[in-house]
Symmetry: C2
Subunit: 355 residues, 2 copies
């Protein structure tokens, strides 16, 4: 007799990208930032280490929320920090979705949404994107109309493209909320600055952001949601009292205050992204125009799984992803440093030349 | 129209103890350790700050689980770290309890269990303790028999007493699990070392521990569960992929490796606890024999809320707690440093002398 909830018993659990713990890898598989966090972040952590860690952190994360508020010109009551964007997504499901209610999301996209909906006992449906990664909004309309939450990553993963505001607003469910997962938002040529929240659609949108990508802090687990205060108040009831630790909050606050560091890294990543995209196309790949810190590359002839395996045998990790029910597979390649990308391109050129 | 789940809409949310952010307080209200964490922990955090924080942490927390395993002589597969014990309790509810299933816990006790059960849509029932904080096991039997989870803090809060193993094992639900919340376990005169998990009852018990109390790391948010591997495997499906950050895991591992530091602090706290209990009794309080880092004190004549307010006006914070439906109220006083406890005792003596 299993004591586990049937819904949990039958899921696989989300499998994150490989995280080899030994050294020597060119790691281009989990969209980490190749550059270190700001030196001010490192100093903030060192200061936090010597502050009274025997005391609980500020449960309201006052200083952190103020820094986010100043950055996006919103009141701190619009901000909820969390233990990574993952936690904010879980909090959103637990705040708004009763078992049996409907959650929908684009497909192919970030498959974690499905696991989270399963854990909450929600019904869930995929909104299949067109082969060019654009929305079939009319085809999705019926499902959206019945959804409590529609969760949309923008830019999308694995494709890296970004949808325009008009499209995004057309996805708001009439009796629910649109969750806009902007994990990769800072890598766009013109990043959003929460403008949609100030529009007439604002009250029906929750934006989630993370420090894992643009701020180079995947190791730290910190994210935040921005939304009208009634949503933040409801979500706060669901979160653990002290969901963010004192060290992460101090580091996150320092990261927000050093915008220049983050912006400089994003600029470098955009330049490398352009170069990688161009070189991959020269090697015969089709590459989606990316607004994120990765590109989605498909080769018209070579099996992607083999390319992935051959790269892996050279200690170069990219992400092989397949979405068999829509006949999509390919390689999602994180933008590394220029040196890492050169190594990848050389290896790929060799592989494609041989056999 | 509220979009929030009705179950969430109608709860208050757990209200943690006051956390004043200004200085100058004698803070004896949230059971923090008055002593700092081990210097080795501080060094581990500083090292982690300079390690590649742009990379995700080890999702399996291998080094940390190995350290816990060595401490309690179990395989690392028996261990699940979490973002504080709070997260492990949430994970347990989400792994084992479907909406409508029954969760029960002693009362008066840690009221957070009720909030967590509410959030999961569970039914929940209080198992009322006798006035001397002992169990009426036969009176609780019917509820236990229908429970999916029985959650028991041992030592209990706010009373601080610890129940013996025979009593604990009699609380295991026949079609569910007993969650043994040992947040205060290290402060007992003879701490448990997960022996119950090795007994015939082991497969039906999950123990949760935290670094917030004995390891002086409330600011860091780290806890762990220990249980037979089938439970850990199920719980792992529910947790976020990277629920513990690299800094917290490094700090926790260092804390585990410096047992002497923790044991020395616990010894000091036990000595202060004995002195505080004795002095409170001299001042006319009834004090429960505590195995935790706090004492539960009641005064036969003076209203506890007034005592709390009068102490607070002198910047001394203790926890006034009331459980009106069973006619219980009193003061839960955290064991601070000897200097802090002297200040408390002087203030209390003054207050009791006057009026």
């Amino acid at each position: 007799m299993s004591l586990v909830r049937p819904r949990v018993d039958c899921i696989e659990g989300y499998v994150p990208g490989e995280q080899p713990q030994d050294g020597g890898w060119v790691k281009l598989n989990t969209n980490e930032n190749p550059y270190p966090p700001s030196p001010q972040v490192v100093e903030a952590i060192e200061r936090a280490a010597r502050a009274p860690l025997n005391k609980y952190p500020d449960p309201l994360a006052t200083a952190f929320r103020r820094a986010v508020g100043e950055l996006f010109d919103v009141d701190p009551d619009w901000v909820l920090p969390a233990n990574g964007s993952d936690e904010n997504l879980t909090i959103l499901l637990r705040t708004y979705v009763d078992p049996g209610e409907l959650v929908s999301y684009p497909y192919p996209s970030y498959i974690l949404y499905e696991t989270l909906a399963d854990l909450q006992g929600a019904d869930h449906r995929r909104l299949t994107l067109r082969p060019d990664w654009s929305w079939d909004v009319e085809g999705a309309r019926e499902t959206i109309n019945h959804s409590k939450l529609v969760i949309v990553p923008n830019p999308n993963s694995p494709s890296g493209n970004r949808w325009d505001d008009t499209t995004i607003c057309s996805l708001i469910p009439p009796r629910g909320l649109l969750v806009l997962d902007e994990a990769y938002g800072d890598f766009a040529d013109e990043p959003h600055r929460m403008q949609l929240l100030q529009s007439e659609h604002g009250p029906r949108i929750v934006v989630t952001r993370t420090f894992s990508k643009s701020y180079s802090l995947a190791g730290l687990r910190l994210g935040f949601a921005v939304a009208h205060p009634e949503h933040i108040t409801a979500m706060r009831k669901v979160k653990d009292s002290y969901n963010c630790d004192a060290v992460a909050l101090a580091a996150g606050t320092a990261a927000l205050l050093d915008q220049q560091w983050m912006l400089d890294n994003c600029r470098k990543i955009r330049a490398t992204r352009a170069r990688l995209s161009e070189q991959l196309e020269r090697l015969g790949f089709d590459v989606v125009d990316s607004q994120a810190n990765f590109v989605w590359a498909t080769h018209p002839e070579r099996p992607h799984r083999e390319l992935y395996e051959q790269l892996k045998s050279q200690k170069i990790l990219v992400r092989f992803m397949q979405f068999p029910d829509v006949g999509v597979d390919g390689l999602r390649i994180t933008i590394g440093t220029d040196v890492e990308i050169d190594r990848l391109l050389e290896a790929l050129a060799d592989i494609l030349r041989s056999s």
